[in-house]
Amino acid sequence: MVLIDIYVPKDTMLHRLDPRAKIIGALLLTILCFFLTSIIFLVLLLIFLQILIVTTGIKWKNYSSSVWLVARFSIILVLLWPFFDKMGDPVLLDLWAYKVTLPALLRSSTVALRLFVIASGWLILMISTRQGNLVRGLVKLGCPYDFGISLSIGLRYIPNFIGVIEMIKEAQLCRGLDLKKGGPVMRARNLIPVLIPTFVIAIRTIEGLSSALVSRGYGASAERTFYHDIRMRISDVAVVAFLTTVVPLLIMIDITNMVAI
């Protein structure tokens, strides 16, 4: 099966944490990253998050594919940065329009670190939270119930559609379709025989699914109850309280330049 669901079934502290606490944590971390300018803070945060990721027991294949994309963008960012940011001293490298200064290098590294920290935070959420609980958490946080169902249907059908597309692609390849022939426009056009059946299957699934929803009593009662419910424990409340206190504090320390660099 395709690796779109990277949840690792384990019983760690992170897994036991209420999905709402983890969603709030990931959001706060994202906000924090856009405020933090201290490279030291970001490095410490990144190390802490990597330790948390290791404790979740993620498979190396999933971890590396996620990190590789962030790393690729970060490398491009650091390499191209000096073309436009030439401010500060000392100059480390001066090759005509390409001038690398130490402050500019620190700035580009700060942005690259921000990317890694944000990606790590969301990765932890996805590794340690079952998709069903993620949706339940969002509904409990105020997301309308019907949007919650749509989201869980979406998550459930992603691997199906990836499988359908692969199957149709293979069938068309057997009939002589060459996806690697010609320039970009030609190659894109060659995908149409793969996409038309995929979309028709999607439309038919919509029709079947809406009947299934009606037959299972969707919308029958205004007050919805859940068989598997989630409850905030004292430890979950403590984590949320800790994060909502620490994040503004860190931002204040950073804004007032109490930590140099």
Binding site: V2, I4, T30, C33, F34, F35, T37, L69, F73, I76, L77, L80, W81, P82, F83, F84, K86, M87, A104, R107, V111, R114, I118, A119, W122, L123, M126, P144, Y145, D146, F147, I149, S150, L151, I153, G154, L155, Y157, I158, F161, I162, I165, P184, V185, R187, A188, R189, I196, T198, F199, V200, I203, T205, I206, E207, L209, S210, L213, V214, G219
Partner: protein, 188 residues
């Protein structure tokens, strides 16, 4: 939630399947350029929904479907993706519907995806240029933001992606309208 009317079952199914399709095509990479680069075709679904169903569906399914993949692979793009894809889908759908009687459907849809797609490209460009390095420069130095480098480097790939996905979506919409007329039932 009390008195809010629930969406119809058909709408729930449309949202769910469209989110899945956007995410599946964003997650899958296809070899398009002969030398390098694998493209994702999530945009094809967003434009297709915009042309065939409606602006709200295109905006919500586009934003959530792409954000789901971002949360796994490149979460730092999440805020930009939510805005960019919602803007792209809603503007393309609104234009396709507004200009419906002005010209041939393929021409109207081409104009719609070009403008919607341009807004998506602009959102990512501004995000990479101005938002990612936020706080690292004094306001006066906005022109020398280092983020301009990667933002410019990404630009041609985003333009090519929108152009290819837009063209495919226009052809796909015509093909499906012909081969599967029941698609009209998905509109309210």
């Amino acid at each position: 939630m009390g008195n809010r009317k629930l969406m119809s079952p058909k709408k729930v199914a449309i949202y769910g399947i469209s989110i899945a399709l956007v995410a599946a095509l964003t997650f899958m990479a296809f070899p398009i350029t002969p030398t390098r680069g694998y493209f994702n075709f999530g945009e094809v679904v967003i434009f297709f929904i915009a042309f065939m169903i409606g602006w709200k569906e295109a905006a919500i399914c586009g934003a959530i479907g792409a954000a789901l993949v971002d949360s796994l692979l490149a979460a730092f793009f999440l805020p930009a993706t939510l805005v960019a894809k919602a803007l792209e889908g809603s503007v393309a759908a609104a234009l396709a519907s507004l200009l419906k009687k002005a010209a041939r459907p393929s021409l109207v849809r081409t104009v719609a995806f070009s403008i919607g797609g341009s807004l998506m490209i602009l959102t990512y460009f501004l995000y990479e240029w101005l938002v990612l390095p936020i706080g690292l420069f004094p306001e006066a130095d906005i022109a020398s933001y280092g983020g301009l480098g990667p933002a410019l480097a990404e630009l041609p790939f985003n333009v090519l992606q929108v152009a290819l996905c837009g063209i495919i979506a226009v052809l796909l919409a015509e093909g499906i309208e012909r081969s599967y007329p029941q698609i009209a039932n998905l509109k309210d």
